[in-house]
Structures are given as C-alpha cells and as structure tokens.
C-alpha cells in the first residue's frame, strides 16, 4: 500500500500551493442541522411498521392485515421486544408491509427478511421452514385460506364497503374522494392477486370457499390434540400464520349474507382453541 494520495482525475495539474488553499475551504464548519419534528428518532427498541391505527399501534394491538399480523405474532413468539407503528405501504421496501427498523438503526428490513433477522437476534423459535411438511402446510394457508380471505374481504361487496375500504383507506387520507379512488385500487389489486393464484385465472366463489373449508379441515386434523403444530414445544411459523388468518376471520364483523369464510372455521373446534391459546400467549 502506498501512502501517496490517489492522483486526482482532473485534466489540469493543480499546483500544491493552490491545492492547499482549496483544501482550506470551507473556512468554518458548524455541527449538522437537526432533523424535522416528523423524522423518527432512533428508537431503543426495534419498530415493526404495520397496517394499524395510531391508537392500536401504541397499545401493540394486532394488525388488521394478515401479512402484518403473521410477522407481528412471530416476533412476539420469538420473545423479542419491539414496538409497532402505523405505516403506508408506500413506505415499505418493495411496497409491501410489514417492514422493520432495528433498534438504533436507520435501515429498513423488508418483510421477507424479518424471519432471518429475528433468528439472528436469537429469537426463541428454531425450525427449518424449508422442511417439506412445514412448507406444504404454509403453502396451504398462503394459498387456499388466503384466497378465501381475499375474496371474502375484497370481492364480497358489503364486506368490502363496510370493513376493508374504511380501514385501509382511512389511514391514508381523510378525504372522501381519495378514499374512493384508493378503494378501487385496493379491490383491483386483490382481484389481480386472486387471478394469479386461481387455476386458469378464473374466480369462482364456491370453489374458493370450498378449498378454504378443506384447508381448515386439514389443518385441524394436522393439529390434532397437540398444543402447537407438529407437536412442538413452542409455537412456530405455521402457528403464527394459521393464527393470523384464523384470528382475523373470527374477528371481522362479516356481513350476515357474506360470511361463508367464517362458518367452516367455526366447525374446527381444535383450530378455534389454538387461536385462543396463541392469542393469550401473545397477550392480546
């Protein structure tokens, strides 16, 4: 290694004296200006940014979005201390909530890296998500169950107007026209998402609900009389994922005529008990 400074790429050689004069500028440097009031201050605890209302965020209440609730539950199960904050999907890396800012850090951990981040932090759950059985059942929840959830919340007209649209759009803007525009976008996005996952891109309500009912049954059988899935000592990712959907499916005040997503779950007594058990464990 040479101690000489790297040659500058200017086409004119600058005489050393002039360079010294240049380098003496600026003559005076003051400390950096402080950040505006809205800039988040570095926090002592990690922050999970989720779909939630400001008041629910301060209580650490569960998110109303399954993708957020799933990781929120997982982090709680890991026994990691964190706070939650309401966020817009536009704030998230790749536009997908949740994301996480580690304690004292200015960087954002995207949703897909939160699990490995938690494991690096020494989170309590040790499992291999690539293990075929776990992967298969995770795919079942993320497929059949999620499709029915999307259909029930976004494509059933009354549910959408009464439940999804107000919650998801009011956190964005207080202006009615903007809420209407956003709710159209939201619904179109859900429909696109469904078409991608349904065979042939055809959306048939009866099929979607039937698939979900079968999935609930299968999960109920898998759980059996164990406390957690696969007879584990500690709840894991599958428990968190099933819980996220089961909790929201039970919690939403579905319209009387559009609650076909809820009825099959209510017949799975063991899953219902699992949901309650996990909710208590998370302190909700």
């Amino acid at each position: 290694m040479s101690s000489a400074p790297a040659p500058s790429r200017t086409f004119l050689p600058i005489p050393p004296l002039l360079r010294r004069v240049f380098d003496s500028f600026p003559l005076k440097t003051y400390p950096a200006p402080s950040l505006p009031a809205s800039s988040p201050r570095p926090s002592q605890k990690p922050t999970l940014h989720i779909f939630t209302t400001p008041s629910a965020a301060t209580n650490g209440a569960p998110s109303f979005d399954p993708a957020c609730l799933r990781l929120q539950t997982y982090l709680r199960l890991c026994g990691l201390e964190f706070t939650t904050a309401p966020a817009s999907a536009h704030a998230a890396p790749a536009g997908e909530l949740p994301y996480l800012t580690p304690a004292g850090s200015r960087a954002a951990v995207p949703a897909r890296k939160i699990i490995s981040w938690a494991q690096e932090q020494g989170g309590g759950v040790h499992e291999d998500l690539q293990e075929p059985q776990i992967a298969a059942f995770l795919a079942l929840v993320e497929g059949a169950v999620r499709d029915a959830y999307l259909y029930a919340l976004y494509l059933e007209p009354t549910n959408f107007l009464r439940l999804a649209a107000p919650l998801y759009t009011r956190i964005s803007s207080s202006v009615g026209l903007v809420q209407i525009a956003l709710s159209h976008e939201l619904r179109a996005a859900a429909e696109t998402e469904l078409r991608k996952s349904r065979p042939g891109g055809v959306i048939v309500a009866d099929e979607i609900y039937a698939d979900a009912a079968a999935a609930w049954k299968a999960l109920d059988t898998l759980l059996g009389d164990d406390e957690w899935f696969f007879g584990a000592q500690q709840p894991g990712m599958l428990d968190a994922t099933v819980f996220a959907f089961a909790h929201l499916v039970r919690k939403w005040a579905w319209d009387e005529t559009e609650r076909r997503v809820q009825t099959p779950l209510e017949t799975c007594k063991r899953l219902m008990a699992h949901e309650e058990r996990l909710r208590k464990r998370c302190g909700w």
């Binding site: 240049f22 500028f25 600026p26 003559l27 005076k28 440097t29 003051y30 400390p31 950096a32 200006p33 402080s34 950040l35 505006p36 009031a37 809205s38 800039s39 988040p40 201050r41 940014h49 966020a87 817009s88 999907a89 536009h90 704030a91 890396p93 536009g95 800012t101 200015r106 960087a107 954002a108 964005s172 803007s173 207080s174 202006v175 026209l177 903007v178 525009a181 956003l182």
Partner: protein, 508 residues
C-alpha cells in the same frame, strides 16, 4: 429637377408617342414612388399639424368601427370600448385626449393575445351632430390570430430526452377565452442520478369583464417527478386549481385555490426513515396569494429596478395537511457606469403547522409536524451557488429532508465583457451568497418550535459561498458557469467546490 415628368407640359404628348425607353420607365416609377412618398409625408405632417392645431378641439367619439372581426363576440368588444365611450369622458374629450384614450384601448386589444400585432386605427369626421362638439369616427382594423395552435416536439439534451405536446385554442367563446392542454415527459440520467418527470395539464382561462389584466382560470393537472437524486422518492400529484389574476396599485396579484392529492412513493431501498415516515398519500387543499411588484428592466439579468414578492399559502380547508406558509423575496439592482451593475437579493420563508381543520371542525387535532413535500429546500446553482441542489439544511443519511424556516441572501457584481460591451447578454460576475434552512423540532408547541428554530438560525454564520463566473442571459433563460468555494457550511450539508453550471429564470 431631373425627373422627365417635370419637364414642360407641351412636351408630354410628344414624349408619350415616342418609343418607351426602359430606363425612362424605371425612372418614371421611381418618380411616382417618390411623389407618393412625398404626398404621404405631407399628409402625415398635415395630420400632425391638424392635431397640433386642434389638440384642444372639443370632440365626441361618435362611433368606433372594427374591421376584421370574425370570431370575437360583439358584446365583448362593446365592453372593451365601453370605457372610452363613457358619458363623462365624452363630455370632456379634446382631440388629443380622445386619441390617447383610443390608443389605450387598442393596446388593451393587443394584450388579449387574440389579434395579430398589426392593429391600425384611422380617424374621420363623423356626420352625426353632437351639439357644439366635433363628432369623430374611429376605424380600427384588426386581424384575428388562428384559433388553434399546436406545438409538439422532442428535446434531446446532454443526458436528457423527452417530448412535449401543447394545444391552445384561442378565443374559444369569442371573448378572449383560452383553452390550454399540454403533456410532457422527460427522462435524464445525469450524474445526479435518474430523474424522470411527466406532466399533463388542462386549463381554461377567461378575462373578467373584458379586462386583459383580470383573468380567471380553472384547470386540472397530473404530474409526477422523481426526487431520487436528493431525497430517495418520487412524488405524484393530481388535482384541480382555480385562480384569479388582477392588478392593483400595490402590484399584480394572484389568488389561487389548489386541491391536490399527493403521493410520495417508489422509495429507494436505502431511503431514510424521515422519507419513509412521510411516504404515502396526503391531500392538500390550500389558498395562495401572491403579490408581485416588479420594476426591474429585465427579469433574467436586471441592471436597475427592484422586485418585491410575497407568497402566502393557507392549507387546511379540508384535506390532510394544515399550515400557513409565507415567503418573501426582495431584489434590488443598481447600475453603475461602464455597464457595471450590482444586484442584491433576499429570500425568507416560514412554515407554521396549524391545527387540523384550522381549528374550525369539532374533532380538531393539535398541529401535526410538516411533511417533506410541504417543507422548503435550499441550495443549488439558482439560489445558493457553491452548494448542491437542495444541499443546505437538515439531512437524514443521503436524503435532504427540507426545513420549516429559511433565509437566503446574495449579492452579485456584474461586469460587461471586454470587446462585447454592455449591450451584449454576457456578463462576468463576482458573487457572495448564503443562507440557513432549519426545521421545527419536536417540542411541546408550535410557538416554542418556532422560537427554537429562530434561535438555531442565529447560531454562527449562515452557510456561505463565494465565487466568480460567466453569465449569459438568453431570452428564454439565464445560463451561468461559476467557480465557487464554500466559505461556511454545516456538517452534512452538500457543498460544491469548483465549477458549477446553472440554468434558470429566477436567480438570487
């Protein structure tokens, strides 16, 4: 006299019978032209004499006739001339004052922009009887400009490519109304990073009461702009606006309403928490008043005169953001001998968060901190040279996040280039400029926050830079190439040592 026609009269017939010599013909033509010119000059002289002699002659404008009008409404023209035909004026017109009044009115016609600039006027004595006053008729001849104007083009610069399309329909309803539509896009990949912008606009403008200086306009727009190069995000806007422009003794006013849905999105992976916190949707519903008093001889390179400008925006009539934003700008230019001139300018602004709904609504919440898309930015070749664009003020990591209070000032001495002189649009300049941009801190209240910000402004010298450069005032924009050195700066602020190029229409 050498003209053949000036010879003795008895020779004329003889000359006509003889063969025509081409040289003589051309000479004849010349002579005819000469005579016409002389006659015209004589007529003009006579007219001037007449007006001079009769300048105090009491007259009355009996009628005004306009030729060449096709699309313009009669009612509209009536209003334009109504002032000149007012009864009290009619009673006191002299030939001179009537002429002045008519000239003022034709100038008004010009300003609507619907006629070609060759408006001409003739006067004649009218036949109608108006007591002891001499009645006169005015004949005004105009030529209407084309109704539809389309502009389209592509712009390819150093590292920028783009296209635009503009369409203007003039005189839509025959009352100098304008319908304007435009679309433009541009992409650049300069060293400052990838920038794209696009904008679409539709505006309808109409003069109020046939007065070219009082214009109402209403429109809708949609635009998106990449702010990745200084704050890791893009901002999309769509909205409606309505405005009124008018003149008073204080200057020219603009009163605007804006209803805009803004979306801060497409963040870079390494966007700072400050930018993430402000990402998403917000609606701004605001009224803005702008007062401009401009006596400068040139907007781009003033050598004398001054500019005073005040902009006040009140946001929170509905919408998601509530604030009062005030900015003032003052500029003064002084000419010295040998084409040397001196310009100095000062700008300042403050953004005060207000209670949601401005405190009128029942569920009013306390003032919320400002958002990145409402705050001020400072720095760059057009305001504080020697700093990068938006290089002053608070930064979070790589992002400039803006501030709520700012002051910026500058002084430039302009020298004409040797050989080219003062008439050329080139100048050498020596400048000093600087400023401060600070943000309101998290505190118990807005008042404490503002006091705290003002206190912070007073700490130390403002960030400053000085330098010399070359200025070119092109009719469309001003170009500058400067060599600047930052003298005082804050840590994190992005200074730029050395050469800096600037293009703009408004410099400090």
């Amino acid at each position: 006299m050498s003209s053949p026609l000036a010879r003795d009269d008895d020779d004329v017939f003889e000359r006509l019978k003889s063969a025509v010599d081409p040289a003589v013909v051309s000479e004849r033509e010349k002579a005819v032209q000469e005579r016409v010119r002389l006659q015209y000059e004589k007529a003009q002289r006579r007219l001037a004499e007449l007006i001079e002699e009769n300048s105090t002659l009491p007259v009355t404008i009996a009628d005004i006739r306009i030729h060449g009008v096709k699309n313009t409404r009669e009612g509209f023209l009536h209003k334009v001339f109504a002032d000149a035909l007012k009864e009290e004026k009619q009673r006191s017109y002299t030939l001179n004052s009537a002429l002045e009044e008519l000239q003022k009115t034709t100038q008004k016609l010009h300003r609507f922009g619907i006629f070609h600039p060759n408006i001409s006027m003739y006067l004649d004595q009218a036949h109608a009887a108006f007591g002891d006053r001499t009645p006169i008729s005015a004949f005004i001849s105009v030529q209407e400009r084309g109704r539809l104007q389309l502009n389209t083009g592509t712009e390819v610069g150093n590292a920028e490519g783009g296209g635009y399309f503009n369409a203007t329909i003039r005189n839509v309803f025959g009352g100098a109304e304008t319908l304007y539509a435009s679309a433009s896009t541009a992409t650049s990949t300069a060293d400052v990073g990838h920038r794209t912008r696009s904008s679409y606009e539709l505006t309808f403008a109409t003069p109020i009461n046939a007065d070219p200086d009082t214009v109402f306009d209403i429109g809708a727009f949609r635009a998106s702009r990449s702010n990745h190069y200084f704050a890791s995000h893009e901002e999309a806007q769509q909205g409606v606006r309505a405005g009124l422009r008018f003149l008073t003794d204080y200057g020219s006013h603009e009163l605007n309403y804006n209803g805009v849905w803004r979306q801060v999105s497409n963040l870079s992976p390494d966007a700072s928490p400050s930018v993430r916190a402000d990402a998403g949707d917000s609606v701004k519903s605001s009224i803005t008043h702008t007062l401009t008093r401009d006596t400068r001889d040139s907007k781009l390179l003033p050598t004398t005169g001054s500019l005073l400008k005040g902009i006040t925006e009140l946001a929170g009539l509905g919408g998601d953001v509530s604030f009062l934003k005030t900015q003032v700008e003052a500029q003064r230019s002084l000419p010295f001998s040998h084409g040397i001139s001196f310009s100095t300018g000062l700008r300042a602004g403050v953004l005060v968060p207000l209670p949601q709904g401005l405190g009128f609504s029942e569920n009013a919440t306390p003032p919320r901190p400002s958002r990145i898309n409402d705050r001020f930015f400072l720095g760059g070749a057009t305001d504080i040279r020697g700093f990068r664009e938006n290089g002053l003020g608070p930064r979070d990591g790589n992002d400039a996040v803006g501030g709520d209070v700012y002051v910026a000032g500058g002084a430039s001495l302009f020298l004409p280039l040797p050989r080219l002189g003062a008439e050329s649009p080139f100048r050498l300049q020596a400048f000093v400029n600087g400023g401060r941009l600070v943000a309101l801190q998290q505190s118990t209240g807005v008042k404490e926050g503002l006091l705290g910000a003002l206190r912070e402004m007073g700490v130390g010298y403002p960030s400053m830079a000085a330098g010399v450069g070359l200025v070119y005032a092109h009719p469309v924009a001003r170009f500058e190439l400067n060599f600047a050195l930052p003298v005082v700066k804050r840590e994190e602020e992005r200074a730029r040592k050395g050469l800096q190029f600037g293009v703009g229409i408004s410099f400090l």
